[in-house]
Symmetry: C2
Subunit: 322 residues, 2 copies
């Protein structure tokens, strides 16, 4: 299978989106360094436009299109941060964004998309209904589907976070990020290995949605070991046909973490970094909480992927002790 | 009364503490700009060491001392962020920090001071008991009191946040910060007017602790209009004999805000900036929420002072609608 994501694509994405996304800061914490035994450098993509790294990939996709293509608009059937990111990018380019959302999507995500001018079509919360609704919109409008991860423009855009991280902290030994569909992970891995071939790339996944870890071990795309069940709502998807080959080639390891470790990690990040971290974004640090990685003394970059969640229902609100 | 805080002192403080504190990022939000009608630039001192701007003043004070003075240690009877900041600065210099705390101090603040090596002495939660306990420690150890705000070294240190802010965003029309004892406000005002004489400096204070607004109007230090009662626990103190003259000379206005506006502002900042903001730090933005300032079209710098609070008791947890 030919490799189609390259460092050059990621560098081109960076120039394309440079003035359209935030160059997010890198945060550190003596407390978290103490707990982990490593030196941790958190790339704060929760402080990115729309509160997540997804702004990068969607913006790169929308601004890669020709004027004629773009004029008909873009479509997605993702309900999460990618939807907000695509709506924002389309608004920046002055084109329509059609967003298919399940009728049970969190109200904060609905509001975010609507505020950014996305035209929402609600559907039943099944994959079939979402795909059917998107197909119908495409047939009616001629708009182009921008997949949340299985798209090289999106994958390249997501990799730009790692380019910035390695500019700010060049001497990293390891880069870590969560894996859901694999758009961020493939971009991260290609960027990191391209800039610094000796670096290690470790992905972390909820044990309750362990398709990437199982796929990585099996050498082919493989479903999760059980029904998908995790608080990390951004990571419930299965790796894609375009992302998985990149992951196979460039990632060193994929480890899994428990739900308890994710919540504990999330709280630790809130308390020590003083930033709002959504559950999916706490997954890499959960690998330290649960001792799933041995990186004592290493300099480790971690992508904090997003900070969008409902502040009325924090996972520790009804829990005496985590 | 002679003016004793100068731009030169603040610049010297900046060099003294440059490699000992974080150069915090400036955050922006299209949503908050839309709501306020202004262009807002938030200096994120909640991402500062110990989670608050207080790291600046305490570090400047500790590193301004001679070796002989420093060797005997430092004392404070503040229980808040200044205590953690002083403990951290003392640890950096390798000297003892004696921290007097009321026995009802929040557990997160106790833990923070203890983790930083501060030697805690508990006392009854009265001003008299705290001062007596501090006096006793000074008599026993020869340590030096570092007041949380009424100290030129501390005031100069706090002003360094504004020097950085004006480097990052030189063309500000206004700088805003909260006022409690006035250490931050006096440093902010002297720095801002020193660097950019035409800039306006507006302080914001809870209506439930309005001594600074009343003092400013009366031309002399004046107590609050009623019993001090505000969620903004960092702002319950009265302006000091050294801070107030600087405020009189360099500040353009002091406005007050309600408790409801503070909580609403706090939540808006969490949701839009994706950072954790303690109640005191939300007070300046509350002036926009409550329409206490008219700054449409202006470029406004706002110091987000800190992010330390108990995540188990958020002010909106038991409120259906704010």
């Amino acid at each position: 299978m030919s490799e189609l994501l390259t460092l050059e694509l990621i560098r081109a994405a960076r120039e394309r989106i440079r003035d359209k996304v935030t160059r997010t800061p890198v945060l550190t914490s003596d407390v978290l360094d103490g707990h982990s035994g490593a030196s941790l450098f958190f790339k704060a993509e929760n402080l990115q436009k729309i509160g997540a790294f997804k702004a990068r990939g969607a913006t790169n996709a929308v601004f890669s299109m020709s004027d004629a293509e773009a004029a008909r608009g873009v479509v997605t059937h993702s309900s999460g941060n990618h939807a907000a990111a695509l709506a924002r990018a389309a608004k920046l380019r002055g084109i329509p964004a059609y967003i298919v959302m399940p009728n049970n999507a969190p109200k904060t995500k609905q509001a975010s998309v609507a505020r950014l001018g996305g035209q929402i079509t609600f559907c039943e919360p099944t994959t079939a209904a979402r795909e059917a609704a998107a197909e119908k919109l495409i047939a009616e409008t001629g708009a182009q589907l921008v997949h949340p991860f299985n798209d090289y423009r999106v994958m390249a855009g997501q990799g730009t976070a790692t380019l910035e991280l390695l500019e700010d902290v060049p001497d990293l030994d390891v880069v870590m990020c969560p894996v859901g569909g694999g758009g961020l992970l493939s971009g991260t891995a290609v960027a990191a290995k391209g800039v610094k071939p000796g670096i290690r790339v470790i992905a972390v996944e909820p044990a309750g949605a362990d398709d990437a870890a199982r796929s990585f071990a099996a050498g082919k795309i493989t479903p999760s070991s059980g029904p998908v069940n995790t608080i990390a709502d951004g990571l419930r998807t299965v790796v894609g046909t375009r992302t998985f080959p990149e992951i196979q080639q460039h990632v060193d390891d994929i480890v899994t973490v428990s739900e308890g470790a994710i919540v504990q990690a999330m709280r630790a990040l809130w308390e020590s970094l003083k930033v709002i971290v959504e559950p999916s974004a706490a997954v890499p640090y959960a690998a330290f909480v649960e001792r799933k990685v041995s990186l004592a003394g290493k300099r480790v970059g971690i992508i904090i992927t997003g900070g969008n969640l409902d502040l009325d229902s924090l996972p520790w609100a009804n829990t005496e002790v985590l």
